[in-house]
Amino acid sequence: MLSKRPKASTIIAYLAIPLLLYIFAVFIPLVTSLFYSFFEWKGGPNKTFIGVTNYKTLLNDDVFWLSFGHNIYLVLICLIGQVGLAFIFVMIINTRFVRLKGVHRTFGFFPSTVSAVSIGFIWTMIYDSRRGMLNWALTQMGMEDKTQVWLNNSELVMTLVSIPLIWQYIGYYMIILLSATSAIDKEILESAELDGASSFQKAIHVVLPMIKNTVAVCIVLCVSGNMKAFDNIYVMTSGGPHNASMVMAMYGYQISFAQQNMGYGSAISVGIFVLGIAVVGGMQLIQRWISRDEVG
C-alpha cells in the first residue's frame, strides 16, 4: 500500500534543490547577460552604458546572420539525419528478422556517451586529406579524382561537420523511440498485418501516429540541441574556412573571448536565446497545426 502523501513543505524542500540549481546556472547568467548587453564592455571594471547600440550592430552583423543560417541548416539536416534515421532504425530493429536486439541498442547508443570533442577529433582524422579514411576509401575504389581537402571546401563543410553530430545522436533518439514503440500494443500491429499492411504502411499509418508525442519531444530536443551546437565544430574547423562553418554559439564565444568584447558577446547570447526560443516555438506551432489537421 502506498504511504501517505508527504507534506507540502517536504515537496517544496525537495523541489527547491533543482530550482536553485536552475536559477544559479541558467537564470542568473541570462539576466546578467541581458544587463551587460547594454554596455560597451571590453572586460575589466570599466563599462560604458550604450543603450541598444549592441543590438543595432547585431541586426546588421552579416557574420551573425550567416551563423544563424548555418544553425538552421544544421537543425534541418539533423532532424532528418538524427530523428528520421533513428525512426527507420527502430522500425528495422523491431522486425522479427533482426537478432541480438540488445546489442544493436547498446552499440547504437554508444557514440552519444562519447564527448563531442573526441568525436570531433575522430572525424577530423577521417576527413584528413593525407591520412584520412575517406580519401583512402575513394582511392581504393578508383575514384581518386573525387579526393579533396574536405574541410577546406566551403560549400560542403557544414554538411561535413553535421555528419559526426548525426552519427553521434542517432542512437540517443533510437533509444527514446524504441521505448515509445515498445509501449504499442502488439495486437494492433498484428491486426494491421492481418489486414495486409506492408512494413512501410505499418510504420507510417500505425506506429508513427501512436508515438506522435514522443516524436514531438525528439524534434524539440533535436532543434534546441542543434541551435547551441559548438564543441565538435570548434574542434574540427573553428568555424572556418573563413566563416563557412561558423555557428551562433561559436561566434558569441569568439566575440566574447577571442576578441574580448564582452558587451557585444552578451548581446549575441541574448540574440541566440531569442532566436532559439523563436525556432523551437515555431516548430511546436507547426506540429500543433499538423496534429489539428489530422484530428479534423
Binding site: 508527504p6 517536504t10 524542500a13 534543490i17 577546406n152 574556412p241 573563413h242 576578441q259 568584447n261
Partner: protein
C-alpha cells in the same frame, strides 16, 4: 519518523546549495592540485637545478617582510617544459624562489597556453586577476586602461638587474611611457624556414633560396622527385598565417615605421598600399602550389610532421616547432637532424625593405595585479618574484642548458658544448638576422581575430586582399 525525514530533506538541500556555491570558489582546489604536479616536476628538474644553485644563494640575500599567500598563474606546464627551454627555466626559477622564501605560500595555477589565454582574459574581465601572472603584449593597453594591471615603471627602473635588461623587449608591454611587465620566458623567433640541406642541395641550392622565384624552381624538382610538398605550413588555427608569415612579409613591404605608426595610432592604415601588397603577395604565394594543399585546414603541429616524415622539403613555423622537430628527429632520425638548416623567408618580388628580417620577441611579461599597490609587503614579495624569474639566474639557466636568451642579457654565452643545430638556431635567432615585430604582440585581439579570419578566406580565394585590409582597418578603428 516524519520529523526526521523533514530534517533530512532540509539538510540535504542545504548541502546541495552549499556544494553549488563552493563550486564558485574552486580556485584554491585547482592550485593545490597544480602545486602537487609542479612539485613532481621540480623533482625531475632537481638535477638541473643543482648547477645554478650556488648562484642562487648569492642573489637571495634579504628575507621578505611578507608572510602569507601569493597567487600566480602561468602556462609553463610540466608537459610544456619537456624540451622547451623557456618553460623549463621558468618552472625551475619559480621553484628556486619558493625554496628561498619558505614563508611565502605561492599558489600556482598552471594551465596549457590556450586555456591560460582564455582564463586570464575572463579573470581580467571580472577584475579578478591573480597577484602575479603572464601578460600578453596585445592586452597591455586595454588592461592598463581598465586599471587592472599595476604600473610597474618605477619597479622596473629600480630593479637590481635594470642595466642588463634588453630594452627592446619592453615595447609590447609599454603604454605611453609606462611599463606594465617584465618580459618573461625566452625570446624566440615566430618565423623560421626549417629545411633539409641535403634535399635542397640536390635541387641545386647550396643554401635556402633568397627569392620566391627560386623556391618555385625548386618546387618543380621536388614534385618530380617524390616529395609531396616543397614547403609545409599549417593555418588551421587561423593565427599561423599572421604570426608565422605575414608579420615578416609585411615588414619586408612596409618597413618597421609603418607598424610602429599602427601601434602608436599615428596615421598608418591597414589599407595602405604597401600592406595590401604584402597581403596580395601572401595570397599569390599560397596559391602557387609550393605549399601543402591542405595548409588552411591542418595546424602547425600537423604540418611539421610532413617535414619530419620527409614528405616536405621545408617547413615554416616558430621556435616552438623547431624545439619539437629537433627533439623528434634527434631521437628518430639522426641523419635528418644533422641536415637541418634554418633560413629567413625569401624576399618577395616588389618588397623594398629589409631582406633578412624575422619576427622575434618576448610575447609575455610577468605582470602584477593593480590591487597589490594597497599592500606594500605583499607587493615587495611579488616584485621580488617577478624580478627573479626574469633575472640573470633565469637567463643563465636557459643559455647554459638550451642556448636561449631571456630578458636579462648575459655576456659570453659559451655555445661550444651544444650540437651544431642548436648553435645554428641560436645564430639565426639572435645574431645573423634583423629582428622585426611580432604583429599580434601589439594592438589587440579584436583586430587580429578579424584579420586572421579574413585572411583564411583570402588564402582560399574567397575574398580579396583589399577587402581583407578594409575589414581589418574597420576593426582597428572600432576597437583600438
Amino acid at each position: 519518523m516524519k520529523k526526521s525525514s523533514k530534517l533530512f530533506s532540509i539538510l540535504l538541500s542545504a548541502l546541495m546549495v552549499g556544494s553549488v556555491l563552493a563550486g564558485c570558489g574552486s580556485d584554491a582546489k585547482v592550485s593545490s592540485v597544480v602545486d602537487e604536479s609542479s612539485s613532481k616536476a621540480s623533482e625531475v628538474s632537481a638535477s638541473k637545478e643543482s648547477k645554478a644553485e650556488s648562484k642562487e644563494e648569492e642573489t637571495k640575500t634579504d628575507g621578505l617582510a611578507y608572510k602569507g599567500e601569493i597567487s600566480m598563474m602561468h602556462f609553463s606546464t610540466s608537459e610544456e617544459s619537456e624540451g622547451n627551454g623557456g618553460s623549463d627555466g621558468f618552472r625551475t626559477s619559480i621553484q628556486k624562489w619558493k625554496d628561498a622564501n619558505p614563508d611565502v605560500t605561492l599558489n600556482e595555477t598552471v594551465l596549457a597556453n590556450d586555456d591560460y589565454k582564455q582564463k586570464i582574459a575572463t579573470l581580467a574581465s571580472a577584475g579578478d586577476l591573480p597577484d602575479v601572472f603572464l601578460l600578453q603584449g596585445m592586452n597591455t593597453k586595454a588592461w592598463a586602461a581598465q586599471g587592472t594591471i599595476l604600473d610597474m615603471t618605477s619597479i622596473i627602473k629600480e630593479s637590481p638587474y635594470y642595466a642588463d635588461y634588453n630594452q627592446a623587449y619592453f615595447t609590447p608591454f609599454t603604454d605611453g611611457d609606462k611599463l606594465y611587465g617584465l618580459p618573461a620566458l625566452t625570446g624566440g623567433t615566430c618565423t623560421v624556414v626549417v629545411y633539409d640541406k641535403v634535399a635542397w642541395k640536390a635541387a641545386g641550392f647550396d643554401k635556402f633560396p633568397e627569392t620566391w622565384e627560386d623556391v618555385k624552381k625548386a618546387d618543380e624538382y621536388f614534385k618530380a622527385n617524390g616529395y609531396e610538398d616543397t614547403l609545409s605550413f599549417g593555418n588551421g588555427g587561423k593565427w599561423q598565417a599572421n604570426s608565422n608569415f605575414l608579420s615578416v612579409i609585411g615588414d619586408r613591404f612596409t618597413g618597421p615605421e609603418w607598424f610602429q605608426s599602427i601601434i602608436d595610432k599615428k596615421g598608418a592604415k591597414f589599407t595602405d598600399a604597401d600592406f595590401v601588397s604584402s597581403l596580395k603577395f601572401t595570397q599569390d604565394i599560397f596559391a602557387s602550389g609550393i605549399f601543402n594543399d591542405n595548409f588552411n585546414v591542418v595546424t602547425n603541429e600537423d604540418a611539421r610532421e610532413y617535414f619530419i616524415s620527409g614528405e616536405a622539403a621545408a617547413f615554416i613555423g616558430g621556435n616552438w616547432d623547431v624545439s619539437y622537430i629537433s627533439a623528434t628527429l634527434k631521437e628518430s632520425n639522426e641523419e635528418a637532424f644533422n641536415n637541418m638548416g634554418f633560413a629567413v623567408l625569401p624576399q618577395p618580388e616588389g618588397a623594398t625593405k629589409s631582406t633578412n628580417s624575422q619576427n622575434i620577441g618576448l610575447g609575455y611579461a610577468v605582470s602584477l595585479n593593480a590591487k597589490l599597490a594597497d599592500d606594500t609587503d605583499k607587493l615587495a614579495a611579488a616584485t621580488d618574484l617577478a624580478e627573479y624569474v626574469t633575472g640573470p639566474d633565469f637567463s643563465t639557466y636557459v643559455a647554459e642548458n638550451y642556448a636561449l636568451a631571456g630578458l636579462t642579457k648575459i655576456d659570453d654565452v659559451d655555445l661550444s658544448k651544444f650540437d651544431q643545430i642548436t648553435q645554428d638556431f641560436y645564430k639565426y635567432s639572435y645574431v645573423d638576422t634583423t629582428a622585426c615585430e611580432i604583429y599580434d604582440s601589439y594592438v589587440n585581439a579584436a583586430v587580429w581575430d578579424v584579420l586572421n579570419t579574413e585572411m583564411q578566406g583570402m588564402l582560399n580565394g574567397e575574398t580579396t586582399p583589399e577587402a581583407t585590409a578594409e575589414k581589418t582597418q574597420a576593426a582597428y578603428e572600432q576597437n583600438y
